[in-house]
């Protein structure tokens, strides 16, 4: 089998997402995805990677990963290069699965479980990679601020019942009940982000600290310990500020505290962990075995969070998770990204012996994800089931290609000649 062409697909409604299709001479097409800086990723794929990949056997997955990593000098961080490699790697695994007639989780070593628990990241419909609508009322809270200050602010809008960010900021108790009524027993919220801009994260006042604790108070008062709560910090704070927040959060028996500080100093993260009585979760903002190795060796985390389409793809995610296992650490695939990232995460979470929980966003799963892909993971009553179709088990819907906001760019033997 040979790779014949590579497509990148952008759509202006989702300016933070890019899809990659790898076509082969056997008629099999693999699908990949990554997020943020998508024009840079697109340029890398067509200029730096397609000339290498076209004509190659798509099943030499490890060799392609190593060669692309070496030629682009990508390491440690989800740079545009590493995101491009991640998207390509996912597409190659999809081809591998379709060629062998097996779901990816089977090729990774088979299901370690039939279903895996999910948690709900309490984002609204337009959080993250999707276009902001001009003139709409922004909340003060900035979701993944560290990832993209300019266009990534969670937004209030009414597309359906799951405006979960507005809900956790205003009536977290009702939100927790709503989630429990759907069988979802874990949730993630980020009520401190709204106070970050006051001091650029250098300090937090006692007053704001108290306001930030309100959602946690409300949840525990209404539903007790029936729901697990993760606190997302988005790497916004200085160490003394985050220590103040974390010490206040110790009373709420959290599932974890995530991305407490920027992930550029593992000694600082390890210091933070040594002073806080909450499990530490980190981080989808680092990439490759080498970066995770350092985090594990410095005892800087309890839970290994990774994003399949940023950390280096399915190949690298599996290797990282296996390393985590040797440190007795569980792994939890990230998704607040896109439908392909979610599906790839589910395959891993079904396979990994040390999978903890899979992230999902119900606003996305019931909203825009199904408008992009032809099949969604089977999520029911707080769990996601093992996918059964070969490969990833999903493809882009035909409407994606006819949408006037879509731009498809192709590299093949002719364009690289």
């Amino acid at each position: 089998m040979k790779i014949t062409s590579i497509d990148t697909i952008l759509n202006s409604e989702y300016p933070g997402l890019i899809w990659v299709q790898i076509h082969t001479d056997k008629g099999i097409t693999g699908l990949g995805e990554t997020a943020f800086g998508v024009e840079a990723v697109e340029a890398l794929i067509h200029h730096e990677m397609a000339p290498y990949l076209i004509g190659k056997d798509p099943l030499h997955i490890d060799a392609h990963w190593t060669n692309l990593r070496n030629s682009t000098r990508a390491d440690l961080t989800p740079s545009a290069e590493m995101r491009a490699i991640s998207a390509i790697d996912v597409a190659l695994w999809d081809i591998f699965g379709q060629e062998t007639g097996q779901p990816i989780h089977q090729l990774l070593g088979g299901p370690s479980r039939e279903r895996v628990m999910i948690y709900n990241t309490c984002a609204g419909y337009r959080h993250g990679v999707r276009r902001s609508e001009a003139g709409e009322d922004y909340t003060a809270s900035s979701g993944d601020t560290v990832l993209n200050l300019s266009g990534n602010i969670g937004q209030v809008g009414d597309e359906g019942p799951y405006e979960d960010m507005r809900a956790f900021l205003n009536n977290a108790d009702d939100l927790a009940e709503s989630l429990l009524s759907e069988g979802i027993t874990a949730m993630k919220i980020w009520p401190f982000d709204q106070f970050y801009e006051e001091s650029d994260g250098q300090r937090i006042s006692l007053e704001n600290l108290k306001k930030g604790l309100e959602p946690f108070d409300k949840i525990r008062k209404r539903v007790g310990n029936k729901i697990q709560i993760a606190a997302e910090m988005n790497s916004l704070w200085s160490t003394p500020a985050i220590l103040r927040i974390a010490h206040a959060l110790e009373d709420y028996d959290l599932m974890w505290i995530e991305d407490a500080i920027p992930m550029n100093n593992m000694d600082a993260l390890a210091d933070f962990r040594s002073k806080v009585n909450i499990p530490i979760c980190a981080s989808e903002t680092i990439a490759t075995r080498e970066a995770f190795r350092e985090m594990f060796e410095r005892r800087a985390t309890d839970i290994c969070m990774l994003d399949v389409t940023w950390c280096g793809g399915i190949s690298e995610a599996k290797k990282i998770a296996t390393m985590a296992e040797s440190y007795k650490l569980p792994a939890a695939p990230h998704d607040c990204t896109g439908p392909v990232t979610l599906m790839a995460g589910v395959h891993l979470a079904i396979n990994l012996p040390n999978a903890f929980i899979q992230e999902t966003v119900r606003a996305y799963n019931s909203g825009w994800y199904p408008t992009i892909v032809d099949r969604m993971p089977d999520i029911e009553f707080g769990e996601v089931a093992a996918p059964t179709e070969p490969g990833l088990g999903m493809a882009l819907r035909p409407e994606v290609f006819t949408d006037p906001r879509t731009t498809l760019r192709k590299s093949d033997a002719k364009t690289i000649a």
């Binding site: 800086g37 840079a40 890398l44 200029h47 730096e48 190593t66 390491d75 545009a80 200050l149 300019s150």
Partner: protein, 403 residues
């Protein structure tokens, strides 16, 4: 100095003759322009600058240098290492500082803290004219672009007649040189193994140089992060009797514990690394005792401001700094300014084959060189401009984002 000025235009330049490079011009509303540069994946850097950086930077006050560094750094997820986002930030930071110095009518070295020395010693990286310049796709370590009609085919020279090359350099007053005679063996095993015979062949240029010029020449061994740990140790131990000036990038720079392990076993200094970016990654390197000489590339590390910060941190560990240049003429000019300024400057890298040919086709002048030393450039900012013939070349591609 003009107050509350605004950045009105960001321009990127690329040229098919230099397919790895991208230049950045930042213009403020008083009509002054600063220059920056970076290399590798220029189309991706260009895309990131126009799609992600420009919406933030246009209309901002150009004097808020540190603030812009922080905010542009947050546009990407690159906390460390030199991906597209960090290279774009580096080029933009360079242009911001050049603009700042020009608007204040000072040479860049003055804005950085003034001259610590009147001249800086150079070493010659023994590349040929087109080494790393015009290739596309995957790099091919050890391959030689041979132009025998020109006098500075220095890579061919170190592979064949290194003693004569050393004599030739000494004649020009250049007393230090960098070579990479082991790269040629990498391809066979992807750096997983090197045989004793290959090691012996790789040592040959060191033998020849010492035989020809004795200890008059400092010789740096560049290893390009191509080898696994035991192979890198085998190579370095074989070169040790020739007292190299340093071992550079012996292993990949993504595991500093491995690098520290390598260094612990060496008697000669370890230099690392232009493959490392930002104060955070260098902090780890310093703390883990990963190297003796701090090498960075201004157009990859996070720009001139980050280079200065990293060099100052190195000083706190009693380590010297040596700016990289095998990239482009603008980067070289920034490096010379920093090498003249920073108290712990060690040596400035330069490639005489480039200076004599394509660097001079792109910019109007380089810093003056005398007896193996660079002297302070004259003029405001970095002290050079693009050649008019370069700017009017019909193959030059300009992309502009403007207010």
């Amino acid at each position: 100095m003009a107050n509350s000025s605004r950045i009105t235009q960001i321009e990127t330049l690329t040229h098919p003759d230099y397919p790895k490079l991208v230049w950045i011009n930042l213009t403020s509303d008083d009509g002054v322009t600063g220059h920056g540069e970076t290399s590798f994946g220029p189309e991706a850097v260009e895309a990131f600058i126009h799609n992600d950086v420009a919406p933030y930077l246009l209309g901002r006050n150009p004097d808020q240098l540190d603030r812009h560094w922080r905010e542009i750094n947050r546009l990407g997820m690159t906390h460390r290492s030199r991906g597209v986002e960090m290279r774009a930030l580096s080029g933009v930071d360079m242009a911001l500082w050049d603009l700042f110095a020009r608007r204040n009518r000072m040479p860049l070295y003055q804005v950085l803290g003034g001259l610590t020395r009147e001249k800086i010693r150079v070493y010659n990286t023994c590349a040929g004219y087109s080494y790393g310049v015009k290739r596309s796709g995957l790099g091919e370590p050890g391959s030689i672009d041979y132009r025998p009609e020109q006098p500075y085919e220095d890579q061919h020279a170190f592979m064949t007649d290194a003693g004569k090359l050393a004599e030739d350099l000494l004649n020009e007053g250049i007393t230090a040189m960098k070579i990479w005679p082991f790269d040629q063996f990498v391809g066979k095993t992807n750096g997983q193994y090197i045989s004793l015979e290959e090691v012996d062949e790789g040592v040959e240029p060191f033998r020849k140089i010492r035989a020809a010029v004795g200890d008059q020449m400092d010789i740096a061994l560049e290893m390009h992060s191509l080898w696994n740990l035991p192979s890198a140790i085998r190579i370095a131990k074989a070169v040790e009797p020739y007292q190299p000036m340093w071992y550079e990038d012996p292993v990949r720079m993504d595991n500093i514990d491995t690098l520290a392990d390598f260094r612990k076993q060496m008697r000669e200094p370890v230099t690392a690394s232009e493959m490392v970016s930002t104060r955070w990654q260098f902090r780890e390197m310093f703390e883990r005792k990963g190297m003796d000489i701090c090498m960075f590339d201004i157009c990859w590390v996070g720009g001139i401001s980050e280079a200065k910060r990293v060099a100052s941190m190195a000083e706190a560990y009693n380590l010297p700094a040596a700016p990289h240049d095998c990239v482009g003429p603008i980067t070289l000019m920034f490096s010379i300014h920093l090498s003249l300024n920073m108290p712990n400057a060690f040596l400035q890298e330069t490639v005489r084959a480039y200076n004599a040919t394509w660097y001079s086709e792109i910019v109007q002048r380089l810093a003056p060189m005398e007896d193996g030393y660079f002297l302070p450039p004259e003029g405001d900012g970095i002290g050079t401009e693009f050649q008019p013939s370069f700017l009017t070349d019909s193959n030059l591609i300009r992309e502009v984002s403007a207010l």
